[in-house]
């Protein structure tokens, strides 16, 4: 079956208007930029609702949307665990517990925190591995976008990669992080405008939520796909996972590692205008995140019912294409163009978030401290622009590496197990245990990364069998976390800790207290604690309703 959208000039006009708006934001942002801090951290001046939506939008890439709709079709309502267990608790933890250390210590990046808390070798190691990870992930997003453009519009792969890269390049080089963040907020609303109508039409077509449930029971002969916790005592459920990997693997190591240490996310909060606004950034982001499953899982389930042969042998009917297939099925010209813009916007968000984190880390964490120190601010501003160009060019090259992988999600999960899981162990121990020494930070990270490597290559080369690629990545994350923790504790007992005075504002119990909170931030609905508990409570209620 051919999946080629029947686009006409109206759809292309809608696409063209979007590109003009995106570039317009870049030019407007350029008028604003005076210093390198403006470029890399938006001058730390953005209100919390903007950074909060950007925070969630940086995660709402197209891989996430297409992947979660695919999971919805394959695993059904169990997919909510990726949101309610695998994201909300970590986002609340970041806002309430960790943000005071990040924002309060005035670091400009996550690696910079490691330099202050530990030492320079830890800093360099993490900055290098982070720069590598972001470029690789940007490349994956570019490649996946090109795949979708080829499938839906018939564009050649290379043309798709180059056009998308060029647009992201122009708006980030011009406007830096402000431009990336403002575009992310715009993308967030465009994605909603594209997915909500699609979800509603799908639901109307199958006779509402009840009709959808009936159809699925009729089709599968049971209601396995409509529950989220049933069968998790043993692993006898569509996800093939018991509550232990769901809660500890997904909910703890992977999720906390991703949300609390990934600079592409944390950077959004660091650009907020005050500590209070920085704390509220992930908390405001948590609320949309709670409801996003409605516009990813429901379309996935609708596609399962209405698209005959979904998930079968035809490569065009793979689960990953659930949303494009629905667009083709239901949307007339006009709305079709808007949905296409939503997908493209989501892909560009994924590329831009990583590229803007990459240029910051390369400039502030590698070039400024270790290669050319003490230059003027203008020098670093220009260097940041060059780093952006270089990052995108390397991203295009790595997009071609990603094309060698059959399943893009496997590649992404592998990257996360290598780069995020060990980092989280180092952070959590370093923040809560004053005694942890600088060298423990360094060797812990090395050991954790090695742990992920052993799990991955051992599985590849047949030393042991960890199951599917996703399961192997999950075990890799656990291996990375555990090895990092053991080595960190071990090395701490044989090396000298930092003097306590140097840890001010960096460790638990010594947080910087923001003594001057403006009156407008003392209102109850602007208090981080209220927002955080509200998000957790809402999640708990929904979890019970959809158990």
């Amino acid at each position: 079956m051919e999946l080629r959208l029947d686009v006409n000039f109206v759809d292309y006009a809608i696409l063209a208007i979007y590109f003009i708006a995106v570039l317009g934001i870049g030019f407007a942002a350029k008028r604003y930029i005076k210093t390198s801090l403006d470029y890399f951290l938006s001058g730390r001046s953005l209100p919390a609702w903007i950074t909060g939506l950007a925070f969630i939008s940086a995660n709402l890439g197209a891989l996430e949307i297409l992947g979660m709709a695919a999971n919805g079709a394959q695993f059904g309502v169990y997919t909510v665990h990726y949101y309610w267990v695998g994201a909300i608790p970590a986002m609340v933890f970041l806002g309430l517990v960790m943000m005071p250390f990040y924002y309060g210590s005035k670091v400009r990046s996550v690696p910079e925190y490691l330099r202050l808390r530990f030492n320079k070798p830890t800093h360099v190691f993490n900055a290098l591995s982070f720069a590598l990870a972001t470029v690789l992930i940007a490349g994956v997003n570019l490649y996946a976008l090109a795949l979708v453009l080829k499938l839906l519009l018939g564009w050649p792969i290379l043309l798709g990669i180059v056009v998308a890269a060029a647009i992201v390049l122009v708006y980030i080089t011009l406007g830096g992080l402000s431009s990336a963040i403002y575009n992310e907020v715009l993308q967030f609303f465009i994605i909603l405008a594209a997915l909500i109508p699609l979800t509603v039409i799908g639901l109307i077509d199958v006779g509402g939520w009840d009709g959808l449930k009936d159809e699925i029971v009729k089709m599968k002969g049971n209601d396995d796909l409509l529950q989220s916790w049933a069968g998790t005592g043993s692993g006898d459920n569509p996800l093939e996972a018991s509550w232990i990997p769901i809660v500890f693997g997904l909910g703890f190591v992977l999720s906390f590692g991703y949300w609390t240490t990934n600079f592409a996310e944390v950077q959004r909060a660091l650009s907020a205008k005050s500590l209070n606004a920085a704390q509220r950034t992930p908390l405001i982001g948590a609320y949309p995140k709670i409801f996003i499953p409605a516009i990813t899982i429901i379309p996935g389930l609708v596609a399962l019912v209405t698209i005959k042969g979904l998930g079968g042998d035809d490569p065009n009917l793979q689960y990953n294409n659930a949303i494009p297939l629905l667009m083709n099925e239901y949307l007339p010209n006009g709305m079709l163009g808007l949905a296409l813009v939503g997908l493209i916007a989501a892909f560009m968000a994924g590329v831009a978030a990583n590229v803007s984190a990459f240029n910051t880390v390369v400039t502030y964490d590698l070039w400024e401290p270790y290669v050319k120190s003490g230059r003027s601010d203008d020098y670093y501003l220009n260097f940041g622009r060059i780093a952006t160009v270089v990052g995108i060019v390397i991203g295009i090259a790595t997009a071609l590496i990603a094309s060698g992988y059959n399943n893009i999600m496997d590649y992404i999960q592998l990257l996360f197990s290598f780069f995020n899981a060990p980092l989280f162990a180092t952070f959590i121990i370093g923040m809560f245990w004053k005694r942890m020494t600088p060298w423990a930070g360094f060797y812990g990270l090395i050991a954790g990364t090695l742990g992920a490597a052993i799990a991955h290559y051992g599985n590849d080369w047949g030393w042991f069998d960890l199951g599917s690629a996703q399961a192997a990545a999950f075990w890799g994350a656990i291996a990375a976390f555990v090895l990092d923790a053991i080595v960190s504790v071990g090395v701490t007992f044989v090396t000298t800790p930092k003097p306590v005075a140097e840890l001010d504002g960096l460790v638990y119990g010594m947080a910087v207290v923001d003594e001057h909170v403006p009156a407008s931030e003392k209102v109850w609905y602007r208090k981080p604690l209220t927002l955080g508990l509200g998000a957790l409570g809402l999640t708990a209620i929904l979890s019970i309703l959809f158990a």
Partner: protein
Amino acid sequence: MPEDKFISDADKAEEESRAARAANLFDVRRFIGGLFLIYGVILFVLGIGASDAEVEKAAGVNVNLWTGLAMLLVGALFIAWALWRPLGQELAEAESETAGGGARGH
């Protein structure tokens, strides 16, 4: 912000109003509102002229019409919000609130 005691108050006021204008120009709410209004008009017009086949395709819903209307409404709300509380004014208020203590940044 560089603090220079030789800059006169008049210059400062001038600088501030220019900053406020720049902030308004660069207000993301205006971008979102504007884009939604344009898309809303396009979809709404397409919806008015929708053929039976198009409505039939989308499970009997005139999706362009309804999405267009919703986007017009959302776009208008964003523009109204941006005009009601201009960013330049908000920044100035935040500035005066924090003035006198705890000014953070570089």
